[in-house]
């Protein structure tokens, strides 16, 4: 047995592993498991404070479900496009890969765009007494609650609360933090995807043999998508639902 030591490191992909599984992929899965706890803690905070805001605006005032449904749809589609990019790469269709990657990044950016729009419209939101009737039409549900809100609006909303800022109330604090961190994850994903796209123009950097580099980014991207699935249901759809005490 030769004992001389070569100071070089073969790529991790090709090393012997006990389970036959790749190191980096396993790392990614462990990280995603861990990241669940990260979002879990944020969601727990949001839910503990649900309905505890002392002043408005409340979720029902600001959420615009149709708009968020569209951005949710965009994010879902970006997941599909990501998986298609990966599939293209494994079949050595480098152009297909580039197109799907680009479209993933664009859809991700669109999602972020929606989020920026949402944040800015929430933060400039104010209850307008005249438009109370209009609001009701817009949501068309939970009339009693809405009516109560509008009457409240007459008393204090308008002058005291101009827009939902993170500082405004607990809803603002928890909502912006939770969705903001999700947005940060998406942004990081976009950077990652764009880096890979860029690298694919360098010879030998993105090849079917090295599909793992893309696979990892894809896993991350899909994870961000599933987190959004949870957020959309728990925060948006349940958010305007009058829970006891809220």
């Amino acid at each position: 047995m030769s004992t001389d030591v070569h100071n070089n490191n073969t790529h991790e992909d090709h090393d012997y592993t006990t389970t036959g599984l790749n190191h980096r992929k396993m790392l990614m899965w462990a990280f995603l498991g861990s990241d669940c706890m990260f979002f879990g803690a944020l969601i727990a905070t949001y839910l503990v404070y649900q309905g505890k805001s002392l002043v408005g605006p409340y979720p029902i005032d600001v959420f615009d479900i149709p708009v968020t449904s569209v951005s949710t749809f965009v994010l879902l589609m970006s997941s599909m496009s990501m998986v298609l990019a990966y599939a293209a790469l494994t079949q050595n269709k480098i152009n297909g890969f580039r197109i799907w990657m680009a479209s993933t990044a664009i859809m991700g950016a669109t999602f972020i765009g929606f989020q920026v729009y949402e944040f800015s419209s929430f933060s400039t939101f104010h209850v307008d007494i005249e438009s109370c009737a209009e609001q009701k039409v817009k949501y068309g549900k939970f009339d009693d609650y809405e009516a109560e809100l509008c009457s409240n609006a007459k008393e204090d909303h308008v002058e005291t609360h101009d827009g939902l800022k993170p500082q405004t109330n607990l809803f603002g604090t928890t909502f912006y933090t939770l969705t903001g961190f999700h947005g940060a994850h998406v942004t990081l994903g976009i950077v990652w995807i764009l880096s890979l796209l860029f690298l694919s123009y360098k010879k030998g950097m993105i090849t079917p043999e090295r599909h793992l580099d893309v696979d990892l980014a894809a896993l991350y991207w899909h994870f961000v998508d599933v987190v959004w699935i949870v957020i959309f249901t728990v925060i948006y759809l349940f958010g305007v639902f009058p829970f006891p005490g809220s």
Binding site: T19, A41, H222, G245
Partner: protein, 99 residues
């Protein structure tokens, strides 16, 4: 290079899954507007979104085709996070919180 690839779904299947996901989302939003459901909405929406979650994890993240170990690593995080969320909420709802 590993055996897993062989089983990977085709682009068409991926597309079909995307359609299913979109349809579920549409149903969710529709249900949201069905006021008469009242509190029944909560379990229905939970089931639907869990379904979406599972679809993405199993097919897009190919957990279904990969080694079980990956599933364990990920699901332990998911399950623990869920349990902790429920535990904290219930502690607040019968503790000194104001629910």
């Amino acid at each position: 290079m590993s055996k897993e690839e062989i089983h990977h779904p085709t682009a068409k299947q991926y597309f079909r899954i995307a359609m299913v996901l979109s349809v579920i989302t549409a149903i969710e939003v529709a249900i949201f507007y069905l006021e008469f459901l009242g509190y029944w909405m909560v379990p229905i929406l939970v089931v639907l979104s869990t379904g979406k979650f599972a679809l993405v994890a199993m097919y897009y993240m190919h957990l279904r085709y990969d080694h079980k170990l990956f599933t364990y690593l990920f699901v332990s995080g998911v399950v623990l996070a869920t349990v902790v969320i429920f535990a904290i909420i219930s502690l607040f709802s019968f503790g000194i919180g104001r629910w």
